[in-house]
């Protein structure tokens, strides 16, 4: 095939129409501002979250990490005082300005909060809750989904004999894994994890971390943490936030070895 001298074969491959491949960044945030009264929580945040990677939002308490996460699945709507402006593109849909219904947006994202919040139902019903919302009631199918996702989070062997016991009877670590299984059952493309190990013991924390490492092949994980060591262990991409602003972002090896700002340098030193 003839190609002009200044066009390489790689360039031709890269110039395929964008709709054929999924965009590299699953979430794109542009000029995001969040205020609560006079308090400016997020200040002009611009951020791209890469697909099928673990992106760690790192920063001290109160820097806006959780608010940023809540903006992504529109849970900020629950708080009247929070005003959000800007654009958040999830798979090219601007969720802040689109007319798409909010439950559908939220089903694209699983949420793991600091403390596990199981639903006041049995273990089984917790996992199938999302499916029931979608109108799926086939017993054989739901039983299969329950087993698959409980296995996926390593909980099946621990609960297979008591699937109809209340979810509240599980330990905190098990509850957190159940919440993860519940989120995975609705096939999200993104998992929003807001300090998911902060209430867990070291063993349960390590189980969750290992799960995330496994799961990033299939899901994009956005992990909020203020624990430096966790960020080092988990991150493919790090975003350092400070008082509502993104101070630095990039590859963890470069960022942690060679911080460009005094704030991050100090944070790394104190974290270690």
């Amino acid at each position: 095939m003839y190609l002009p001298n200044d066009i390489t074969k790689e360039a031709v491959r890269e110039s395929k129409p964008p709709q054929e491949t999924k965009p590299e960044h699953i979430v794109r945030i542009r000029n995001l501002n969040t205020t609560a009264g006079k308090n400016h929580i997020l200040k002009n945040v611009n951020l791209d979250i890469p697909r099928n990677k673990v992106t760690v939002l790192l920063g001290p308490s109160g820097c806006g990490k959780t608010t940023l996460l809540k903006c992504m699945n529109k849970l900020t709507d629950l708080y009247r005082e929070l005003k959000v402006s800007g654009n958040i593109f999830i798979e090219n849909d601007d969720i802040l300005n689109s007319r798409q219904n909010i439950p559908a947006i939220r089903q694209k994202m699983g949420l793991l909060s600091q403390r596990p919040y199981c639903l006041p139902l049995s273990i089984y019903k917790n996992v199938v809750y999302g499916l029931r919302l979608k109108g799926i009631r086939n017993k054989a199918l739901t039983a299969c989904v329950v087993e698959r996702h409980l296995r996926e989070v390593g909980l099946w062997d621990e609960v297979k004999d008591r699937l109809h016991s209340p979810a509240s009877s599980l330990s905190i670590g098990q509850q957190q894994r159940l919440c993860l299984a519940r989120g995975l059952a609705v096939k999200p493309s993104i998992i929003l994890a807001d300090e998911p190990t902060s209430a867990l013991d070291p063993i349960s924390s390590r189980i969750i971390e290992n799960l995330f490492t496994e799961m990033k092949k299939q899901y994009t994980i956005i992990l909020v943490t203020h624990i430096m060591r966790q960020a080092v262990r988990m991150a493919d991409h790090v975003v350092f936030m400070y008082y509502g602003e993104i101070i630095e972002k990039g590859n963890p090896n470069e960022l942690f070895r060679n911080p460009q700002t005094e704030k991050l340098r100090k944070y790394i030193l104190e974290g270690n």
């Binding site: 699945n73 849970l75 709507d77 629950l78 708080y79 009247r80 439950p103 559908a104 939220r106 089903q107 994202m109 699983g110 949420l111 909060s113 403390r115 919040y117 199981c118 639903l119 006041p120 139902l121 049995s122 809750y129 999302g130 919302l133 979608k134 209340p166 979810a167 509240s168 009877s169 919440c179 519940r182 989120g183 609705v186 929003l192």
Partner: protein
């Protein structure tokens, strides 16, 4: 200093203990007096027969009319209160979650409604009854008692729902539930123990209230067969019998009071049992 602290501590323990146990003793005393005075007149015929002619002047018969009337009114009113109260309590806690001021205003108004004496509800029901051209009847009594117990039901259920962690609301919405799905599938389950308590407390209040049915339900020696017929109630049966100059009739009043007390005790115990059962799935 140490000695002063010890004396203070002992004094407050004594005060708190005294207050607690004297209240328990008072409840025990009420039950004992009612039991002692009423058990003699309590009989099979009193429970299962209608009053014969001149019952309130010492004649034969029982208070089946009042037991049935009270049960009809309390069941009907509780049903209306559930239909109004359940969605209202869920609405306050789920749909109005972001409107704290509105939530607080509604709660304040419901508390005010709870605090209104039942005789005022009776008078309001009476006025309403006249406005619609109704007569004292089972329907008018039921509606009036429903108005009386609905705020009690909403606030009792609401207190339990208000204690639901915000994280649970977020978790449910984050799954893609709508607010109504969250209300009826999650919050209702979370507040089930409170709901059971609310229903039984309201029923207990409805069956035991005299003033609200005084003008609205009327009184009859028969069991009402239609909604527009008057209905006797246990509290009014007690009231009429206690006012009698005949000692035997006054004793029957205590027997009727004993029946009412037993019904309310059974309701309270059932409420405790069921709320304990449903609280096992609660997320704290």
């Amino acid at each position: 200093m140490k000695r002063k602290k010890r004396i203070e501590e002992k004094f407050f323990i004594f005060l708190a203990g005294f207050a607690t146990y004297s209240l328990m003793a008072l409840l025990g005393l009420i039950i004992i007096i009612i039991f002692v005075k009423g058990v003699g007149s309590l009989s099979f015929s009193m429970l299962f027969t209608l009053p014969k002619g001149g019952y309130y002047y010492g004649g034969e018969g029982g208070v089946l009319n009042a037991i049935a009337g009270s049960a009809y009114i309390a069941f009907g009113a509780t049903l209306i209160a559930i239909i109004l109260g359940l969605p209202a309590a869920l609405y306050i806690n789920v749909h109005l979650y972001r409107y704290r001021r509105t939530q607080n205003t509604i709660r304040y108004l419901l508390d005010a409604l709870w605090g209104i004496p039942s005789i005022v509800y009776g008078a309001f029901g009476f006025a309403l009854m006249l406005f619609f051209g109704m007569q004292a009847s089972l329907l008018a009594g039921t509606i009036t008692v429903a108005l009386l117990i609905t705020p009690i039901m909403i606030r009792t259920f609401d207190e339990v729902l208000a204690a639901t962690p915000a994280g649970l609301l977020e978790a449910s919405l984050a799954m893609g539930s709508t607010r109504s799905e969250t209300a009826f599938r999650i919050f209702f389950r979370q507040g089930m123990s409170g709901f059971v308590t609310a229903v039984l407390l309201s029923f207990g209040r409805g069956i035991g209230d005299a003033a609200s049915v005084l003008f609205t339900a009327g009184y009859t020696d028969l069991i009402p067969r239609h909604l527009d017929e008057p209905a006797a109630t246990l509290p009014l049966a007690i009231f009429f019998q206690l006012g009698s100059p005949i000692p035997e009739v006054r004793e029957r009043a205590f027997a009727a009071a004993l029946i009412l007390t037993v019904i309310i005790l059974v309701i309270s115990l059932t409420a405790r049992h069921l709320s304990g059962k449903y609280s096992k799935t609660i997320i704290k």
